[in-house]
Symmetry: C2
Subunit: 353 residues, 2 copies
C-alpha cells in the first residue's frame, strides 16, 4: 500500500516535533512543509531536524499551495494557532484542497464551545470536500476531558467531575514563557489580563463543554478565572526566570454549573519549577457518582510530547472518519501506533497514490 | 423518538443489576427478560427489583423467543456465560433474530484471542443480519486494556505496558467465592487447577491481545499463571470465609512477550478483605516509552457496577456501529450517559417502532 502522505503547516517547536516523530514511523511520508519564518524557508527539513531518514528532504515553503499538492496529500497537521477564528482561513483553504486536517489549535478540540457558527461552517466545508477535520492535543484533547469521559464509562451515574492538571512549564521555550506570564510582575500581569494580551491556558470551555455533551450533564453556565502564581524564591528554567515576588506562572480555574450547582470543576496551575515551593505535578480526575473514581497520574503527562503524540496518533482515525468536523467524542480511542499506519486505514478509505 | 428497546438474557446478579440501572435511564425500555431459574420464571421484574418505574412489569420467561419479539427489540444484553464457546449458540440465535448484542462474557471482549474461528463466524452472522455484537465489561473491557490503550494516545513510543488490578472480592456473592476459590485449602486449589474447575480471572489473553493489536506491538507469546493467596489470619466477607491457612483468593498473572522480551505484563490478585494483611486495592497502569505514564486509581473501580455500566453505556455505540463483530477498539470512547439514550443514536440508524 502507498504510504500516508502528510503535510505540516507551522514548523515551530510543535511542527518540528511532529516531523521528528513522523520520520520514525512506518507507513508515513512527509510530503510538504509550510512556514513563514524567513530563517527556515528554503531549507530542507532533514537538514534542520538532523535525524537519519529515507524521507525526501522536503523544502520548507512559505506558500501552502506549494507545500500541498492536493492529489498527493492525505492529511495536513496544522500547528500555527490556538484559536478557531485566527486559523479559520487556513482550515478552510486546506479542506477546499480536499485534505483531511488535524490541528493542535486548542479551541478546535471542541469548537462548538466558543465558535458555534464557525464550527458549523467548517463541518459544511469538510463535508462538501468529503474530508474530515479534528482538533486534538494533550489538553484540551485528553487529560482534562477525554480521559475523564472514558473513565466515566465504568459509572452508572455521574454527579460531578473534577479535573486537576498541575504541571511544570520548565521544559517549554520562550513563546510559552511569554504566553503564561513567567517572570512578569503582578502589575504587568494585571495589565496583560486587562488588555487581553495574557491568554493563559486556552481550552477550558472546550473541555467543559466536551464533558458536558459527552455525558449529557446539561451545564447552563461556564466561568473561568486566571490568578498569578507569585514565587517567594527565585526560580530558573532553561527558558524562564522568575525573581522572588514575580510570576512563576498562572493558576487557571473554571467551573461548569447547572442551576448554580458545581458539576464540572477544572483546576490547572502552570508554572516553572513547581517543586521549588513544594508543588508536585500530576494529572488528577475525581468522578463523584456510582461508583466513584479517583485517578492520578504522577508526574503529569508531558504536554509537548503529549500533544505531538495525540495529533499523530489520530491520523488513521481522521482518514477513517465520516466526513465533516469531528471531535474526540466521535472517534475510536486514541492509541500509540507502533506498527504500520497504513494497516489502520479502513479498506474503503482511500490513500492517495 | 421511540425508546430504545432492550432485552436481558440472564437475570442473575449481573442481569438484575443492569435492569435496575436501565429503569432509571431516559430513552430506554426493557421489553423482555429471559432466565432459566425456576425460582424467578413467571415473575414480573418490577416485583423482583422493587424500584419505582413506569416500565411495563415484564414477565421473566425461560424461552428467549418469547422474551424477544425481533420487531420490537433493538439490543439484547447477554449476561449468562464467561466463554465464547459456551455462549456461541445464544449469540448466534440473537443475531439471527436481527438484534444487536452486548455481552459481559469475558472472552467476548476480544474473542479473536482464544476463539478466532468462532469470532469470524460471529462477524459473518452479524453482518448477514445487519446488526453488531460487542463484548465489554470492567475487566476485560476497560481497566486492564482499553484504559492503557487510551493513555498511550499521548505517547509517541511505547516500550512496555504494565497493568495491575488489585481488587477486593468482598462485595461479591457465592458464585464468585466459588469461582475464585475463596476459603478452599491449598490441596483443593491444586485439584481445582488440575481438573480445570477453578478458572480464576477470565480475560488476560483478551486484554493482552487487544493491547498488542491496538498499539501494533506484535506479541509472539502469551502465558498466564494462577497462584493461591493463602491468608495467615481468618478473613470474613458477607459471602465468603477463609480460615487462616486457606485461600483468601487467587493471584493471576500474565505476560505477552516478543522474542522473549516482556512487553505486556499483567498482575491481578483477587481476594476477600485484602486490607486485613496490608494489601491496598487499586488499578495501576505503567506505560514505559516516550513520555512515560504512571497512573493509579485508588481504590480499584468497583467490578460489579463497572461491568454493568460498561454494558449499558455502550448501547448507543453498538446501535451506531457498522454491522459485524466489534470490539472496544472500534467504537468511540465509552462514557456515562446521564441524558436521553435516544439522542445518541445516529439519525441514519433505526430504532424499532
Amino acid at each position: 500500500m502507498n504510504k500516508i502522505k502528510v503535510a505540516i503547516w507551522g514548523f515551530g517547536a510543535m511542527g518540528q516535533g511532529m516531523a521528528k516523530v513522523l520520520l520514525g514511523k512506518k507507513g508515513i511520508e512527509i510530503t510538504g512543509v509550510c512556514d513563514i519564518n524567513p530563517a527556515i524557508v528554503g531549507k530542507g527539513i532533514n537538514d534542520i531536524l538532523n535525524v537519519p531518514t529515507d524521507n525526501p528532504n522536503v523544502i520548507i515553503t512559505a506558500d501552502i499551495k506549494e507545500a500541498i499538492k492536493p492529489a498527493s496529500c492525505d492529511v495536513c497537521l496544522l500547528a500555527t494557532d490556538s484559536f478557531v477564528k485566527k486559523s479559520f482561513d487556513k482550515m478552510e483553504l486546506l479542506l477546499n484542497l480536499g485534505v483531511n486536517v488535524i490541528t493542535s489549535a486548542e479551541e478546535m478540540a471542541y469548537p462548538k464551545a466558543n465558535e458555534p457558527e464557525l464550527a458549523k461552517k467548517l463541518d459544511k466545508i469538510a463535508k462538501a470536500n468529503n474530508v474530515s477535520i479534528l482538533g486534538t492535543g494533550i489538553n484540551p484533547g485528553l487529560v482534562m476531558d477525554l480521559l475523564a469521559i472514558c473513565l466515566s464509562g465504568a459509572m452508572t451515574d455521574v454527579e460531578s467531575v473534577l479535573c486537576r492538571r498541575v504541571n511544570s512549564l520548565s521544559p517549554f521555550g520562550p513563546t510559552v514563557m511569554e504566553e503564561q506570564g513567567v517572570g512578569i510582575s503582578e502589575a504587568e500581569f494585571n495589565k496583560g489580563v486587562a488588555d487581553g494580551h495574557l491568554a493563559g491556558h486556552v481550552g477550558f470551555n472546550e473541555s467543559v463543554t466536551m464533558i458536558a455533551d459527552g455525558l449529557g450533564l446539561e451545564i447552563d453556565d461556564f466561568k473561568q478565572q486566571m490568578k498569578p502564581i507569585i514565587t517567594t524564591v527565585d526560580r530558573k528554567s532553561p527558558y524562564g526566570f522568575a525573581a522572588a515576588g514575580n510570576l512563576a506562572g498562572v493558576n487557571m480555574t473554571a467551573q461548569g454549573t447547572k442551576s448554580g450547582k458545581l458539576v464540572i470543576d477544572m483546576y490547572h496551575p502552570q508554572q516553572i519549577e513547581p517543586e521549588t515551593e513544594g508543588t508536585n505535578t500530576g494529572d488528577y480526575i475525581v468522578l463523584k457518582g456510582t461508583p466513584e473514581i479517583n485517578m492520578q497520574i504522577t508526574p503529569e503527562i508531558d504536554g509537548g510530547l503529549g500533544t505531538i503524540a495525540m495529533c499523530i496518533n489520530c491520523i488513521p482515525q481522521v482518514i477513517n472518519a465520516d466526513s465533516g468536523l469531528i471531535t474526540m467524542l466521535d472517534i475510536p480511542v486514541p492509541r500509540a501506533i507502533m506498527g504500520d499506519f497504513t494497516k489502520l486505514v479502513k479498506p474503503e478509505k482511500r490513500i492517495k497514490p
